[in-house]
């Protein structure tokens, strides 16, 4: 072991990061792999909470199973319901109905949200319940070692598609937009500033809001495609991303393999819990 400081020079006490107050500091450091995108998502989310001056006491985090479910649970200091695999949106539905005054946020991965929990995603979007879902898409089941997921690109090798993925990926953001959500966007961990703005928007808007965040997994996914450094992914996201408005002018062939980023939908359909609670008003006395 080398005890020498990484940066030479006189040691200066580090100022605690201004967003550290949002974290359960007693359990840091995180368990994320080197180069993982989850830290970037956590940072962007904490920044959005800071910008909006939301009191963490007014938030509930609901997560599933997988690496990205650990972003809020246990790291973010808030009420946390760490549920069974694929079910956080369904658990969150019960929380939101009982406590519409709380901001209910689901952060989980592509396997959890779009795979095993895909049905809950579609129906929560259809109900347009006021929940914010951040789907951290790392293109594979990273926690279990890099198996193919419903979001893995076509033709890519994973530990369970050793002869390349014969399936097409689910475009989750487009699916949620079609199902009726009030706000849908897609960004990547390369697009940190638009991502932060988008998270703010998602937290503010009433109704179901969904952000698909492409996030690098250099360890489990990268090992199979020779992208072993975080920067390999960030460069890929930078080079392959196309903004929504530009994508509209491109042909299907031109869009092949591209990542369409930006806001897909923003609208004001009526929100489920508001409608549900309005029923009760009919029976209220006085």
């Amino acid at each position: 072991m080398n005890d020498e400081p990484i940066i030479p020079g006189p040691a200066r006490p580090l100022k605690p990061h201004r967003l550290l107050k949002f974290l359960r500091q007693e359990i840091l450091p995180t368990a994320f792999c080197p180069g993982c995108g989850c830290g970037t998502v956590l940072n962007s989310f904490a920044q959005a909470v800071e910008e909006l001056s939301i009191d963490p006491k007014d938030m509930v985090f609901v997560t599933g199973i997988g690496c990205s479910s650990w972003i809020p649970s246990p790291y973010f200091k808030g009420d946390t319901l760490h549920t069974t695999h694929g079910r956080p949106i369904a658990f969150a539905t019960g929380v939101k109905i009982m406590r519409p005054d709380l901001k209910v946020v689901v952060i989980a991965g592509d396997g959890d949200i779009a795979g095993i929990g895909g049905n809950h995603l579609v129906h929560a979007a259809r109900r347009n319940i006021d929940i914010t879902v951040l789907m951290v898409n790392n293109w594979n089941y990273g926690m279990t070692g890099g198996q193919v997921s419903p979001a893995t690109p076509f033709g890519v090798p994973t530990t369970t598609t050793p002869y390349d993925n014969p399936e097409h990926p689910l475009e989750a953001a487009e699916l949620v937009a079609a199902a009726g959500a009030n706000y849908v966007s897609r960004w990547t961990t390369y697009h940190v500033f638009p991502l932060m703005e988008s998270i703010q928007k998602a937290l503010e808007i009433e109704g179901f809001s969904f952000i698909e965040i492409l996030s690098q997994c250099p360890v489990s996914y990268g090992k199979m495609v020779d992208m072993r450094r975080a920067s390999d992914f960030l460069k890929f996201y930078r080079d392959q991303s196309v903004r929504v408005h530009k994508a509209k002018e491109m042909s299907a062939e031109e869009l092949e393999g591209k990542i369409v980023v930006g806001k897909l939908v923003e609208r004001q359909r009526s929100e489920f819990v508001t409608s549900l609670r309005r029923i009760n008003e009919r029976f209220r006395e006085g």
Partner: protein
């Protein structure tokens, strides 16, 4: 001042109505204080959801129909942590889907009620026909070591009363409680007399004082709710008393899981409820539960009328298994006859507590036992020796 719930429900006070078992169970939930129901339609349990969807808004509660039974129990658990008293209702296929989240509710000590109106299985089976085939699934359906509470009503009146009791036990022991109804009782229509709203005992949730941990410290720790600034951490992973995950320390897991079991095992006598009807000189006893207890009681009374002394034991609590009551019966008689609408699930459990012959009188196929069928079995075995029924499949 009367609450909205009180003023709505007190309209039923002391009235006698002609209701389905399903409907009575739904009203039991409302009297118990249930303010959240999530479910998915399934025969023969759908009437529970229909009553809840109609009545909950009238008592300022919430009904939501989810996309499946997994989501239903998920929403129930989420609602409980947000402060609700919550319930779902289903039948076998849906109950199978709920098993993983039942384990989650056990592990996170989430009080909630799950009504399983049992129908003939496995799989889709005879969708509209009654059965008692889920009693061991209720006990062991979810993975890992655990205890559970399950009750079985035998009448429409009891559908009401045991639903109230289910909510109370759920709160008292912080555990999911399963009300094991069956299609026969759920779709039976008979008289029920409502209690006065004020007279219904309701176990209120015990909430933790500040700084008191919600996942340990005592066998049944007090709960905390979301939105109180306590930053509680609820997880199905192995956790410490604080709620924080610790999945690598052997002792943490052992302490947690043994406590979750102990809190029920140690309270078995307190939880257990049975109906004992013993007579002098009985050589044979009939043990039954749920819908089957009705023809069983009829057969016992017929047999006594004909001069044959027969003991009768009805299990109201199925889990934790009322072993003391079963031992008392076993000490009195030479033979225990167990009619049930499955292939001997509870008979097998009874065998664990007696050396005397246990004779299953199984009947499946969606047709309940008749009094005569059980009476014939009593006659054939009433002397306490030999057996003509109870061939194990």
């Amino acid at each position: 001042m009367m609450t909205q719930r009180q003023s709505r429900l007190s309209g039923f006070d002391n009235r006698t109505l002609f209701l389905l078992g399903d409907e009575a169970a739904a009203y039991g939930a409302l009297y118990a204080g249930c303010d959240f129901f999530a479910g998915y339609p399934i025969t023969p349990a759908s009437e529970i959801a229909e009553v809840m969807s109609r009545e909950l808004p009238r008592v300022d509660g919430y009904y939501v129909q989810m996309e499946d039974e997994i989501a239903s129990l998920s929403a129930v658990i989420g609602a409980v942590w947000a402060g609700a008293k919550a319930m779902t209702a289903t039948s076998g296929p849906g109950f199978s889907l709920m098993q993983e989240n039942i384990g989650y509710a056990i592990m996170t000590e989430t009080p909630c009620v799950i009504i399983d109106v049992q129908r003939s299985g496995p799989s889709t089976g005879q969708a509209t026909k009654p059965a008692q085939g889920d009693v061991l699934q209720a006990r062991w359906g979810t993975h890992g070591d655990h205890e559970i509470i399950a009750l079985a009503p035998s009448s429409v009146q009891e559908c009401f009363e045991l639903t109230v009791e289910s909510f109370n036990l759920a709160e008292k022991y912080r555990i999911p409680v399963i009300l094991l109804m069956d299609g026969e009782i759920g779709h039976l229509r008979e008289s029920i007399t409502f209690p006065a709203y004020e007279d219904v005992a309701r176990e209120e949730r015990r909430l933790a004082e500040p700084e008191v941990e919600s996942f340990g410290g005592e066998d049944v720790p007090p709960m905390s709710h979301f939105g109180e600034g306590r930053f509680i951490h609820v997880t199905g992973s192995t956790h410490k008393a604080s709620g924080m995950r610790d999945v690598s320390t052997q002792a943490v897991h052992e302490d947690l899981v043994t406590r979750l079991c102990r809190k029920i095992v140690d309270a078995c006598a307190e939880i257990s409820s049975v109906e004992e009807d013993f007579v002098d000189g009985a050589k044979i006893g009939v043990l039954a539960y749920g819908a089957t207890a009705r023809p069983a009681r009829g057969a016992v009374l017929e047999a006594r009328r004909a001069g044959c002394a027969v003991d009768f034991l009805r299990l109201i609590t199925i889990w934790p298994f009322p072993e003391e009551a079963v031992k008392r019966l076993a000490d009195r008689v030479d033979t225990i006859l167990v009619p049930e609408m499955n292939l001997g699930q509870i008979a097998r459990e009874v065998e664990r507590f007696t050396a005397a012959p246990v004779l299953p009188l199984s009947k499946i196929g969606g047709v309940p036992h008749t009094i005569d069928e059980i009476l014939d079995a009593i006659r054939a075995n009433g002397s306490g020796s030999g057996s003509t029924v109870g061939q194990r499949p």
